[in-house]
């Protein structure tokens, strides 16, 4: 497949690995945060870490849209399906994310709620057209990549007067999250450089990351999602660090420009506006970090259409997702990893999506866990979960 296979060449990977090993200064270490879950997935899926010298490590960032959605929002989504009996449509990964009281959309569905997976928000519109007598709600999540399709869907719904359709909007913004990670007052950050989002940047462009490179003096390399992209971007970051530079560089030039997709940006701006603040799992309340529907689309806003109960659900005690999402801990630092928390019974959101650091560790790297894994005869009851 064009633009796929050639970016997965084993030969080139071996050569690049040697180059990186040669250029990485053995006298220091390189902690490179891949902001996006997509990068996390590629790193694990292809075993990229294996090809890196010991002093170059990837730190998994908060860029997994499934991982960062806080429990109260998920509780509200369940409420829309259960109490308001709407058809709730969402992208697949959301189904298993733990909500309050060990609930999830999957469990709500098993209990009789009409929750369905869709591949695209375009399918959500189809469901709404096919069920005019039902309330159909699209549970919109994601960064700047999934936001433009939601904007298109809302503009379409408005044009068609699709009165039974609404959106429960949880779209969030990557720059605000990056800001939050870097701007920890009184703490020095253990991250040396960032791999910037690839697909997000294809929409918003590389310009929004320039201030981070400048203000926090951290190199940012906009990196493609294929494993060679990741390796080469890591090399670019290492070179910047070696040279004392801190710039935004764009490795993913085949898709990303400095200004991004202006048409998509315009549609997003037409439909959405900034929220004052939004709660992120792991990062807490982040000012200006999320979008909501503009007044003009109020009729399609599930948050106004349904009376939603404020939820006070919090993460399970012991779950290290917050620290992991900030890059401060690794999955293996969590005592619940692989014991009470597995992809079949995720305790935290990071154990759900293959872009979540814990799930990626579980699926692809858990043999490195060693004594962290429970022995055959240890008993793990549910009481371990608060």
């Amino acid at each position: 497949m064009k633009y796929v296979d050639e970016f997965r060449s084993e030969t080139l990977a071996r050569d690049l690995a040697a180059t990186i090993a040669r250029e990485a200064d053995p006298g220091r270490s390189y902690a490179i945060m891949e902001f996006c879950g997509g990068h996390t997935h590629a790193i694990f899926r292809y075993g990229v870490q294996d090809l890196m010298p010991g002093n170059v490590s990837f730190v998994h960032g908060p860029g997994c849209p499934v991982c960062v959605l806080p429990i109260p929002r998920l509780d509200n989504a369940i409420e829309i399906a259960e109490r308001h009996k709407a058809i709730l449509l969402t992208y697949g990964d959301m189904m298993r994310v733990p909500a309050s009281k060990r609930r999830s959309l999957l469990k709500a569905k098993a209990g009789g709620a009409d929750v369905r997976m869709v591949y695209s928000v375009a399918d959500a519109l189809k469901v709404a057209r096919a069920n005019p007598e039902r309330q159909v709600v699209f549970f919109a999540i994601g960064f700047e990549t999934t936001t433009p399709p939601t904007a298109v869907a809302l503009l379409t719904a408005e044009r068609e007067g699709l009165a039974n359709f609404s959106v429960f909007c949880n779209h969030v913004l990557t720059p605000s999250a990056m800001q939050q990670i870097l701007d920890v007052p009184g703490q020095s950050i253990a991250i040396d450089a960032f791999l910037g989002p690839s697909h997000v940047s294809s929409v918003i462009g590389s310009a929004p990351y320039e201030r981070f490179a400048r203000d926090f003096h951290k190199p940012v390399v906009i990196a493609g999602f294929e494993p060679l992209d990741v390796m080469y971007s890591a090399l670019m970051a290492i070179r910047q660090l070696n040279e004392g530079r801190a710039e935004v560089e764009n490795q993913y030039t085949r898709v990303v420009t400095r200004e991004g997709n202006l048409k998509a940006q315009a549609m997003v701006a037409e439909v959405f506006e900034l929220r004052d603040s939004f709660e992120w799992r792991g990062l807490g309340a982040v000012p200006g970090s999320a979008l909501r529907l503009r007044e003009r689309f109020r009729a399609f806003d599930a948050e106004t259409r349904f009376a939603l109960t404020p939820s006070t659900g919090t993460d399970v005690k012991g779950c290290e997702c917050p620290a992991i999402l900030r890059g401060q801990k690794k999955p293996l630092d969590c005592k619940l990893f692989g014991t009470v928390c597995t992809p079949d019974n995720p305790v935290g959101s990071c154990m759900v999506s293959s872009e979540g650091a814990c799930a990626a560790y579980w699926s692809y790297r858990r043999h490195q866990a060693g004594e962290h894994m429970p022995a055959e005869d240890e008993a793990f009851g549910e009481e371990a979960v608060a």
Binding site: R96, L106, K107, K109, A110, G111, G112, G338, T339, V340, T342, P343, D344, N345, M373, P374, A375, E376, E378, F380, G381, E382, V385
Partner: protein
Amino acid sequence: MARRFPVRLDIARGKVEMTHGGGGRAGAQLVEEIFFRHFGNAELAKAADQAQLSIAGGRIAVSTDSHVVSPLFFPGGDIGTLAVNGTVNDVAMAGAQPLWLTAGFILEEGFPLADLDRIAASMARAAAEAGVEIVTGDTKVVDRGKADGVFITTSGIGVIPEGVSLGAARIQAGDAIIVSGSMGDHGMAILSRRESIDFDSPVESDCAPLNGLVGVMLAVAPNLHALRDPTRGGLAAVLNELAHDSGTGMLIDEQAIPVSETVHAACELLGLDPVNIANEGKLVAFCPAAEADRLVAAMRTHPRGRDAAVIGHVTPGQAGLVRMRTRFGGERVVDWLNGEQLPRIC
């Protein structure tokens, strides 16, 4: 080695989820912690694609039944007891000793694990009583609204003793027709719990394994001609099928058919006839008239045959026609039940 399932299934409060059917770890856990736990035997525990079993050469009986009974739990049993006995009995009706069962489960998303656990326990008990092992199985999960809680398909294998040969083809004019006990208990127990009919009564399903009784029968009447368990469609359906398949006529005596007072009363209430109501622990036997009394006497020594009785005989001519001398002194045809009156009793 790491445990595959660090967190135990929450059987008390859990529900079947689509995850349990996707071919992943969750499904393997469900099978292990519910089915293996209850059915536990060496062959099943291998968790292989199939059971591998040693068998002596000869003739075997093989049968299958899908069970879709509603409600799943009823007086005297549940879909689990039914799934085991329904197939054990079909194997036993060949005169065979049932040895092994397979079980295929189709689960509806949202089905309470506690109910599934209870059903598996019932199956284990019923299998133990019948002396069979559940040696292999399969589990599927379908979306809510695409099934009705749980469907169970069982298949059974039994060994037919040397010299035993039972079947419709052996039925001949003059044969005595014998039933092993009262008619209609199972079907009426189910109906008493149907939403649109419900009534109170002490009637319980007769659901039980018949292989023990068949063993007793073969011991005294190795020349038995045919056996059939009058399940769906009741006695009437079985007699009509066998009359058709054997090309004989049959004449039965209403007065001689054992029916409990309660089933009789419930039939009056609902306008039904006990000969159309299902049984799950009864059989109909055909044997030479000369052996009938000895056979009935032997059957009565077994708990499942205490009320055994000759109810009629096979006639020449009028092939395929089943007639009944009514309790009132008249005569009538005994037909299959028409229409859909009694769905999902098994």
